[in-house]
């Protein structure tokens, strides 16, 4: 099992001074995972269950047909959900993010006494290793948010550099009444998410390179790893 050393090299929040920025937030950052390859990290980041586990307050994150799912039904269906992240490429392949797919999530945010639960739908807009882009929106009562994010992996000498950015806009009551807390709260969510992502990746054993290679097989002519990695026709090696 490889050990990933995580280095917080840079983490920026939307702090540029502009008087109309206040419920629009921009976050971006870069972190490095040592002793890992782009493929390994990409594989880990392909697993919705891993993301579900990393997202603070996330009850479930599941693929759905369209951007207007029945959250009550989903809640019922996934009430006792107990799915573990895995490092098994076969398993990941079954459920890996796919470009154009929509995912529904219930995310409870907890900022002291303020505990909105957001019904969220995210769409994978682009997914082409090593780059991924997603956008989505969530609503909780008469508050809502819209976000768009991208992530780019860059293989360094002995590790992977993950560069990411998220933009979010908040609407409704929280935007209006919660001015003082929105930025730090969102900051906290983003920070916790990425640090959990790193923990999750760190805890995997997928870095045993062999696992990944062994999985090269059959069915789809792109090969399972290509599928997981979101490569189209292996053109991006």
């Amino acid at each position: 099992m490889a050990i990933f050393l995580v280095v917080w090299r840079q983490y920026r929040v939307g702090v540029s001074y502009s008087h109309r920025r206040h419920s629009h937030m921009e976050f971006s950052g870069t972190f490095e995972l040592e002793d890992a390859t782009t493929e390994e990290v990409w594989l880990a980041l392909s697993d919705p269950v891993m993301i579900e586990h990393a997202l603070p307050g996330c009850e479930f994150l599941v693929v759905v047909e369209d951007t207007d799912p029945d959250f009550d039904a989903l809640r019922e269906e996934h009430a006792d959900r107990d799915v573990e992240p895995t490092s098994d490429p076969e398993v990941i392949a079954e459920r890996a993010f796919e470009e154009g797919n929509h995912y529904a999530a219930i995310i409870g945010i907890s900022i002291g006494p303020v505990n909105p639960t957001f019904e969220t739908v995210v769409t994978i807009d682009e997914r082409d290793q090593p780059y991924m882009e997603a956008s989505g929106e969530g609503s909780a009562g008469d508050s809502s948010f819209e976000m768009s994010s991208w992530m780019d992996l860059d293989g360094a000498d002995d590790g992977v550099e993950v560069e990411w950015a998220t933009e979010a806009d908040v609407f409704g009551r929280i935007a209006q009444m919660g001015q003082r807390v929105i930025n730090p709260a969102a900051n906290q969510v983003v920070k916790r998410f990425f640090s959990s992502v790193q923990d999750e990746i760190r805890e995997r054993e997928i870095a045993e390179g062999s696992t990944v290679e062994q999985a090269q097989s059959d069915e789809d002519d792109r090969g399972i790893v290509d599928r997981i990695l979101g490569r189209s026709d292996g053109s991006k090696q």
């Binding site: 008087h19 419920s23 209006q176 009444m177």
Partner: protein, 813 residues
């Protein structure tokens, strides 16, 4: 300190006018006996709550009210589809180029700002109504929004009203463009500035509220509401709800401040009425402060470019102004007048300027509608004038007081015609300036300023020589300019058989003390003791007609109406007295309530006795009807033009941007003062609001048109610690064209103060080369201005400022 009040029983009719008598409004207000709208209870009363848009701009695909309707205690939930009345909010002022898109009571397909109502709930209790609003589910498609008035009229801006080509509400100009351009072509010196007059939220302490009750038997709709002008509301609401005017009874009970925000006709009050008719229950609606922030018409919202042309000596030869004015999502009642006729016409300030041209583009945005807020147009004008004048002085290297003095309209040039349409009635500007300069010890201050700069301390002196046009009136002129209403005022003076008086006025006070000052006027005119006179306002069933209280018009127009009616009463009484004294009318003199025969003072009769005789009617002159009451509809010839000079003295800490007041002096000329204590109070309050704008206040929307200063935790309403002690003084230049000579004071402070403060701060920071900072001058804004200033480096720069040694050499500039 300040003016000492006297008790009512110390008054006599000879000196009642001009006395600082205690307010008779106070006893009910300081004991809790006062009745504000939300205090009103009715048997079986229900409560209304409004669901407002989650977005600044959105398409509404559907509204699911089923959960709300199913809640215990919910009487009804209604959306735009349910409304069966005309329901279009009218615009009360039209301009040639004005676009007037429909403003519905409830948003149907499109929400254009966050205050847009989408549904209303009527429930048994206010808490339940609020719960039910939360249970309504709206299917929105969010749309891009625009909030900045200048960006709103650019080609690629999201369009607020789909049925319009763009967001231009109007494109208006005043003055002579060619002459003005010529003045700039020939100018020896020019000054210019880009400035923002930020959006403000009025924040009357009492939120808007309505109690509506419908009586099916008489088909009468009785409405108690927070109104500055119940008659105007009656007129407008009659059309909106299709209820005949004579069946609408509107009462403004005690009203907790307005500052303009309770002039306008909003959807909510009409919705409460509709709900009362629909449910057959008395319905109460009281805005939460959040709703106040979202829906009360905001003020200001200008972005301007101003230029000043001067000759070699610094004599002003021209002024050119381009302004983008935000209108918000819809045109509020008087909105089109505010950035045009109430703004452009004041751009000459106190100065003799031969050529002025001003172009104003009004823009629809996704913000709350913008309308009259204390000062309405005039603070925007005077802020701009007094900023550019200050920069003109700076350009000329002249002392700002002397620069002003040399450009003032001379005292022998009144009435003075400006190049921007209005004619100033009377004025004498230098004495007010001199008094203010003397009060602050101007020359010594300038010396001290130099000394302090040597120590790295930054003292600033800011002048504001302002003018205002108030006493909103002449109807004919207002009509020519686009008003959809007359601006006269009605006054009815009724002398009862006992000699007591009830006087009715169509204005509607909400803190100004009309019951006191009007009684002083009537007492003075009739010679009847002050305590025998009762004033009634604010009830459309009691008072025949009226236009309301705004634009500092109550004393000048309403007071004049009462004075005129009183004079008519005296005229009639004189006929009766002459008859009873068996003298000819020409021989009867009237003084302090007594009619007496010239040369035979023992043959006299008091007006209160005449009143008794007029009702007895046993012995009346031929052709004179019994009774003693008179009505007048007073319509003056012109606006009145109060003026004055305010000076702020501040010290600025460039390290933190903190501003401390050392002094604030206000010298105002509002004509003769009916009650100097009340005048002083109006100046204090106005200045506080002006300081609020200068230093603290600002409504901020984000790029999605979400109001992010949506509570008192985020929008600063100044606290006691934020407002300095003010020194007030006055000069008196009567208006020649109203019977009292009075001018108006309600808005003076708000019009005068912002630029006094900003001029003081920029004066303090002159060594850094800071010419202008947009309001509000928060600590951060000032700190950034210092650090970004051209001379920041020369004066010590960032590092030097950070370690406290910044700008030590400032005094040498």
């Amino acid at each position: 300190m300040g003016i000492e009040t006297i008790e009512a029983d110390e008054l006599d009719v000879e000196s009642v006018l001009g006395s600082a008598v205690e307010r008779r409004e106070d006893p009910s207000l300081i004991t809790g006996e006062a009745e504000y709208t939300d205090d009103i209870q009715r048997p079986n009363m229900a409560h209304m709550s409004v669901l407002r848009s989650q977005y600044g701009h959105a398409t509404i695909n559907g509204v699911d009210t089923s959960d709300a309707e199913a809640m215990d205690g919910v009487i009804g939930v209604y959306t735009a589809d349910d409304l069966d009345v005309p329901g279009e909010i009218p615009v009360g002022w039209l301009l040639d180029s004005l676009e007037t898109p429909v403003h519905p009571l409830l948003a149907g397909e499109t929400a254009r700002y966050q205050g847009d109502g989408i549904a209303v709930v009527v429930a048994e209790e206010r808490y339940i109504a609020s719960d039910a609003v939360d249970a309504i589910d709206v299917d929105y498609d969010r749309r891009d929004a625009v909030i900045d008035p200048k960006e709103a009229v650019e080609d690629d801006a999201p369009v607020v009203h789909d049925d319009l080509d763009d967001n231009t509400a109007f494109d208006w100009e005043i003055g002579d463009a060619d002459e003005t351009d010529a003045a700039f072509d020939e100018a020896a010196h020019t000054a210019e500035v880009d400035l923002t007059n930020q959006r403000l939220i009025p924040n009357a302490m009492e939120p808007r509220a309505t109690v509506a009750e419908y009586k099916p038997g008489t088909e009468e709709l009785e409405v108690h509401m927070t109104s500055q002008n119940p008659h105007l509301h009656r007129q407008l609401m009659s059309g909106v709800l299709d209820v005949p005017e004579h069946k609408l009874h509107i009462v403004a009970p005690d009203v907790g401040g307005g500052f303009g925000s309770k002039i306008h006709h909003y959807p909510d009050e009409a919705l409460a009425c509709w709900c009362a008719m629909e449910t057959g229950r008395p319905v109460k609606w009281t805005a939460t402060r959040t709703e106040t922030y979202l829906t009360d018409a905001h003020g200001r919202d200008h972005e301007s470019h101003a230029e000043l042309a001067m000759d070699e000596e610094g004599i002003i030869t021209g002024m050119r102004v381009k302004t983008y004015a935000g209108m918000g999502a819809y045109l509020s009642t008087f909105a089109p007048a505010v950035p045009t006729y109430l703004y452009g016409t004041l751009l000459s300030g106190q100065y003799d300027i031969p050529a002025i041209h001003c172009n104003v583009v009004g823009a629809f945005t996704n913000g709350a509608p913008v309308d009259a807020y204390r000062g309405a147009g005039r603070p925007e004008a005077l802020y701009l004038v007094e900023r550019i004048i200050t920069l003109g002085a700076r350009e000329m290297g002249m002392d700002p007081a002397e620069f002003r003095r040399q450009n003032f309209v001379p005292s022998d040039d009144f009435p003075h015609q400006t190049p921007v349409a209005v004619e100033y009635d009377s004025g004498d500007y230098e004495p007010a300036l001199d008094k203010a300069l003397e009060a602050v010890g101007y020359d010594d201050l300038r010396e001290r300023q130099e000394e302090l700069r040597e120590e790295g301390r930054y003292l600033g002196i800011g002048l504001s020589s302002y003018i205002e046009a108030c006493g909103l009136a002449p109807s004919e002129l207002a009509g020519q300019l686009g008003a959809q209403a007359g601006l006269w005022e009605s006054g009815l003076v009724r002398v009862h058989p006992t000699g007591k008086v009830t006087a009715f006025c169509g204005t509607s006070g909400h803190g100004q003390g009309h019951e006191t000052t009007y009684a002083q006027i009537v007492s003075d005119e009739l010679g009847i003791p002050y305590d025998d006179i009762e004033i009634v306002e604010g009830d459309t069933d009691e008072i025949p007609q009226g236009m309301g209280t705004y634009g500092s018009r109550s004393a000048a127009v309403g007071g004049s109406a009462l004075a005129t009616s009183s004079q008519k009463v005296v005229e009639k009484a004189k006929k009766i007295a002459a008859h009873q004294l068996e003298a000819s009318e020409e021989d009867v003199e009237f003084e302090n309530g007594d009619f007496s025969v010239a040369g035979a003072p023992e043959r006299s009769m008091h007006i209160q006795d005449v009143a008794a005789q007029s009702y007895l009617a046993h012995d009346m002159p031929d052709g004179i009807e019994p009774g003693l009451e008179e009505t007048s509809f007073y319509d003056p010839d012109n606006f009145v033009f109060p003026f004055g000079t305010h000076i702020a003295v501040v010290e600025v800490d460039p390290e933190t941007g903190e501003i401390e007041f050392e002094n604030y002096v206000a010298v105002d000329d509002v004509g003769p003062q009916i009650n100097p204590k009340i005048v002083e109070g109006q100046v204090h309050g106005g200045v506080a609001q002006g300081i609020g704008q200068a230093l603290y206040e600002g409504a901020e929307y984000d790029d999605n048109a979400q109001l992010v200063t949506g509570s008192m935790q985020d929008y600063t309403v100044p606290k006691a610690e934020h407002i300095p002690t003010m020194e007030t003084d006055s000069t008196v230049t009567p208006s020649p064209h109203n019977p009292l000579g009075v001018k108006g004071v309600g808005e003076a402070g708000t019009i005068a103060a912002p630029q006094a403060v900003v001029n003081a701060v920029t004066d303090a920071l002159q060594p850094f080369g800071v010419d202008h900072i947009d309001m509000p001058l928060t600590g951060e804004a000032v700190w950034r201005a210092v650090n970004d200033a051209p001379d920041a480096g020369a004066e010590g720069g960032d590092e030097a400022i950070a370690d406290g040694s910044g700008g030590k050499d400032g005094g040498e500039n």
